[in-house]
């Protein structure tokens, strides 16, 4: 089994696998699940490159294990590392914003410029028609009408309210991902 990353040495990786499960094959599967969960954790916090940070968190854990540190509660230990990395990343982002002279907006967030509707519209068009209709209908009512609208939708679709929420959540994740890509998170490279 390969670590898949250049910066994690073999001994550290072996130490990590050993801590995850006695059976090496099972340990590999646990490792993959663990990594996905850490990626998801960073995604929830809106980190731009969650995969990179997840690798960083697991690398740190693996190195500690190789150095002989006794980790009694691995989830708690990994959660601690993930939080530390999250803080580091936020400070770094804050410093970058300050260096670019556009740190914290002086005005309230609600008065900031609207995102380009074109962007959302474009992302909606990339969704399969069923998903597009569902998300448009899901967010088409406000206030008290919202619950009523969603209850009606769940009846029409013949699914529970929780299942409907989960579907909407998945589609919204896709939209968020698309909108962030569309709005130019990355700089253009002149050659």
């Amino acid at each position: 089994m390969k670590t898949g990353r250049r910066d994690l040495d073999k001994a550290s990786f072996e130490a990590l696998l050993g801590a995850l499960h006695a059976d090496r094959n099972e340990a590999g599967a646990v490792y993959e699940r663990l990594r996905q969960r850490v990626v998801r954790f960073f995604t929830l916090h809106g980190i731009s490159f969650p995969d990179d940070l997840a690798d960083q968190a697991i690398d740190r854990l693996a190195r500690r294990l190789k150095e002989g540190e006794v980790v009694r509660n691995l989830p708690a230990y990994l959660a601690g590392i993930a939080r530390l990395i999250l803080r580091e990343e936020r400070s770094k982002a804050q410093r970058q914003e300050e260096n670019l002279g556009r740190a914290v907006p002086a005005q309230a967030p609600s008065s900031q410029p609207e995102p380009a509707w074109d962007t959302i519209e474009h992302c909606l068009q990339l969704l399969p028609p069923g998903s597009r209709d569902l998300i448009q209908q899901y967010y088409s009512a406000a206030g008290r009408g919202r619950s009523e609208n969603r209850s009606r939708m769940s009846k029409e679709l013949g699914i529970s309210l929780n299942a409907l929420r989960n579907r909407a959540l998945r589609i919204r994740r896709e939209l968020q991902k698309c909108a962030e890509g569309q709005s130019g998170e990355q700089p253009p490279q002149d050659d």
Binding site: A93, E180, G181, G184
Partner: protein, 286 residues
């Protein structure tokens, strides 16, 4: 009536997540919550939904004064949450799809409303068409194509140059335009060219590959207007964006004269690369 989730009420979840984001939980409680975020799938989904609910409620002006103030403080200090909020605000303006509008218009009053709305829309369309026709006769025949970046999976790493909202707010300073080229679709023509705005630095070309194409590496030959020059872009790896396979690369906008371009896509790797598809676009520089 408050909606219930399996483990607790939605408002409890929202309050918990708000306290977490605002840094109001103690060290131990934060640690416990983060462990659950990492290892409890149901809890993670609930918290993600609580986050969306909070942002939606804030965007709709439905939070209490105290919650609103905390939320604003979070959004000011957390660019990532701010980005999520912008989507929440955009979703507030969402209109139901046509099919569900028809359902809403099912009652007699609803149908009457729908008819009135349709008549109003038709009138507005006629007026808009007249204005468009008059204006079109008095300006050059060009068409603005897009003002935004790229399809998500095409994104590459690197720090952002400036915030997206600022770019949107400053016309004439667009860093990059995305130009999506579809199979068998010619973009622009001699009298309806795709207009690149003044000040544009880069044009990102995104080429949709034919559905059946299974190659793993490609080359794109860019043929400039009147075949005055060609440029080869090599080692392009297709990326998935929703159900499409895309090739993406950037061209410096300053080096793109107006005219008719063609893009020939070859499957790379072999000694004699095979032509996969050709695309055409007519560009006008602003």
């Amino acid at each position: 009536m408050e909606e219930q989730t399996v483990m607790g009420s939605r408002t409890d979840d929202q309050e918990l997540f708000l306290r977490y984001l605002a840094g109001e939980l103690g060290e131990e409680e934060t640690s416990r919550l983060e462990q659950r975020l990492l290892f409890d799938d149901d809890f993670f989904d609930r918290m993600e939904e609580a986050q969306n609910d909070l942002l939606d409620a804030y965007a709709a002006g439905e939070l209490s004064e105290a919650q609103r103030q905390r939320m604003e403080s979070i959004l000011r200090s957390n660019p990532a949450q701010n980005r999520r909020f912008r989507l929440a605000r955009a979703l507030q303006g969402m209109h139901p799809p046509v099919a569900s509008q028809a359902r809403i218009g099912g009652s007699r009053a609803g149908r009457r409303f729908l008819w009135r709305a349709l008549v109003a829309v038709a009138c507005a369309a006629v007026v808009a068409a007249i204005i468009f026709f008059v204006r079109a006769r008095s300006r050059p025949k060009t068409q603005l194509v897009s003002n935004t970046g790229r399809i998500p999976s095409v994104a590459r790493s690197g720090p952002p140059l400036s915030s997206p909202s600022q770019e949107v707010a400053r016309p004439g300073h667009q860093p990059a335009f995305a130009l999506l080229l579809g199979v068998s679709v010619q973009r622009g023509s001699a009298n309806r060219a795709i207009m690149l705005p003044h000040g544009l630095r880069a044009l990102e070309v995104q080429i949709i590959l034919p559905q059946e194409e299974s190659g793993t590496q490609f080359e794109v030959q860019v043929v400039f207007p009147h075949a005055a020059a060609t440029k080869m872009v090599s080692r392009l790896v297709p990326e998935e964006a929703f159900s499409e396979k895309l090739l993406a690369f950037q061209l410096p906008a300053t080096k793109l004269p107006s005219g008719d371009y063609s893009f020939k896509v070859y499957r790379g790797g072999g000694k004699e690369p095979a032509l996969v598809a050709a695309y055409r676009v007519v560009i006008h520089r602003g």
